[in-house]
Amino acid sequence: MAQLLFLGKLADLVGAGELSLPLPAEAMDTTALRKWLDTSRDLDGLLLEPTVRIAINNDIVQDPHPIQDADEIAFMPPVGGG
């Protein structure tokens, strides 16, 4: 099972802050995962936006990056505190 996190506004837009799921065979890198999730949850391109970065186990990665079950995979929209 991979742990998917949807941070910030993505939690509202995806409809969940966290999802635990087994990665399907066609989504074993970050680019493929974006497409698969976006299509299967009918998100109209939300997760394909380049402003949405992906972190694997707390490190930001560049697409396409290999992923595996047991990874924590975070989808991060633009950040900013203060």
Binding site: K9, M76, P77, G81, G82
Partner: protein, 148 residues
């Protein structure tokens, strides 16, 4: 020292503690950021700040280390709230100490630009008409680009 805290903190108390650890510095600059009571003419009932630990802390530590490389700082202090924050409460506090004032001013300015545009937080403004996720403004990105 860097802290994330879900509880209210007092900027003046933090400045006092910081001043006790500046080791003969001549200059201390502090920045305190507060939840405004209104934004764009609309009442604000609060702010929600989400962090992603430990990435958030690690990023701030890296920014503070970079500030210490760029300027001769004697000490730095950063506190950032997480969770729900009421209007008037402090969201963020940054203090810098150095022998001379220019380093202290610039380093505090640099750290605030980092926190506003690059620190790993997501921010939701709560208003009577609904809640809105807010992202850095164009001016924030422009301020931040001054240091590239």
């Amino acid at each position: 020292m860097i802290s994330l805290t879900p509880s209210p903190f007092d900027a003046a108390d933090t400045l006092r503690d910081f001043e006790a650890a500046i080791n003969g510095a001549g200059a201390v600059v502090s920045f305190s950021g507060y939840v405004r009571t209104e934004a764009n003419g609309e009442a604000v009932t609060g702010l929600h700040l989400q962090a992603y630990s430990p990435m958030t802390e690690r990023g701030i530590e890296t920014a503070a280390a970079e500030a210490c490389k760029r300027w001769p700082l004697i000490n730095t202090r950063i506190i950032h709230r997480t969770g729900d924050i009421a209007p008037g409460e402090a969201i963020v506090f940054v203090a810098t100490a150095s022998a001379h004032r220019r380093a202290a001013f610039e380093a505090a300015d640099y750290l605030m630009d980092y926190l506003k545009t690059k620190a790993v937080f997501w921010k939701k403004e709560l208003t009577p008409n609904g809640d809105y996720w807010i992202e850095p403004r164009a001016g924030d990105y422009k301020d931040s680009a001054r240091w590239d």
